[in-house]
Amino acid sequence: MRNLKRLILAVALIVAAPAAFAEDFKVGDITVSQPWSRATPAGAEVAAGFMTITNGGATPDRLVAASSDVAPMVQIHQMSMQNGVMEMKEVEGGLESPAGGSVKLEPKSYHIMLMHLMHPLKEGDRFKIELTFEKAGKVTVDVAVGGIGATKAPGA
């Protein structure tokens, strides 16, 4: 009977674990949560990747590069709105991930800019982005694609 209970518990953990942790990716002190993107209109050659980067360490780190097999050119950009004007710029020297804090890549702010897309991104797709942090090193994250006008991660 005790063995049966253990078995049930073990099965429950196996089933529950992927659901609870599927969206988190770790390397060193860095945790990347809930990476997502949006479906792209046919004819579009760019897409944006969003995620939350948390640095659990005592020293700041930096996201210095990103790459992906869906786009040959990937950069870290910041978007802002001023007086109705949308402004975009590349983040010089990488995006700081403060010690013990989080930085959000989200609409109207920082994003991973995927340029010259090899193919349109479709809602429900998943693709990978490799992130390089100055101290923590490289981590590959699995990006979930939401709808064209999505404002948050699919299922969030």
């Binding site: 004819g43 050659e45 760019v46 109705g84 004007v85 949308m86 975009m88 109207k108 709808g147 006008g149």
Partner: protein, 206 residues
Amino acid sequence: MSEQDQPRPPLSRRRALRGLAAAAVIAVGAGGSLRFLWPRAQGTNVTIGGPFRLKSPDGGVVDSAQLTGRPYGVFFGFTHCPEVCPTTLSDLAQAFAAIPDLPADFRVYFISVDPERDTPDVLKEYTSNFDPRIIGLWASPEELPQIAREFAVYYEKVPTSDGDYTMNHTAVVFLMDRNNRFRAAINYNESLDSYVKKIRDLIADE
């Protein structure tokens, strides 16, 4: 957080126009190296919009003179735009769907500020993702400064580290009444309800 993030009370038209006029800076040349301010505002009498004749992707021409009697919208953007353009066009399409009595001939014209990359064919494919009432219009590199000035639209090329470029641009939907006069602006990330209300008001306006 900018004020655009907040649900905002209807701005007085004058205040809205002043904000647009403040953004009326035109950039010229590769890399946006040369800029000049266009003194559009004279006192508070700011005019948004003006006559245009631009190529539509089906091979025809859209002439603003022929739009008299029909309200319409204008939005400037570019297809290499990761966020604000697809989101705005997607929001417009959702707003159209929420207005069952929206006339079939209502149009929002998507004018590219990146005419070199956004050829008429590219524009046609791009706008086809949203709603048949959203039509891409191609202003040639020679025509673009003029229409941008008329709508007090700012645009500029921003070179990226690998020799490519992206663009900064005014991201406002201009709603024009049946007399080709500016009636209201929709700012980025206004709620869908706000899109619907402004478009309803526009088409109800005599």
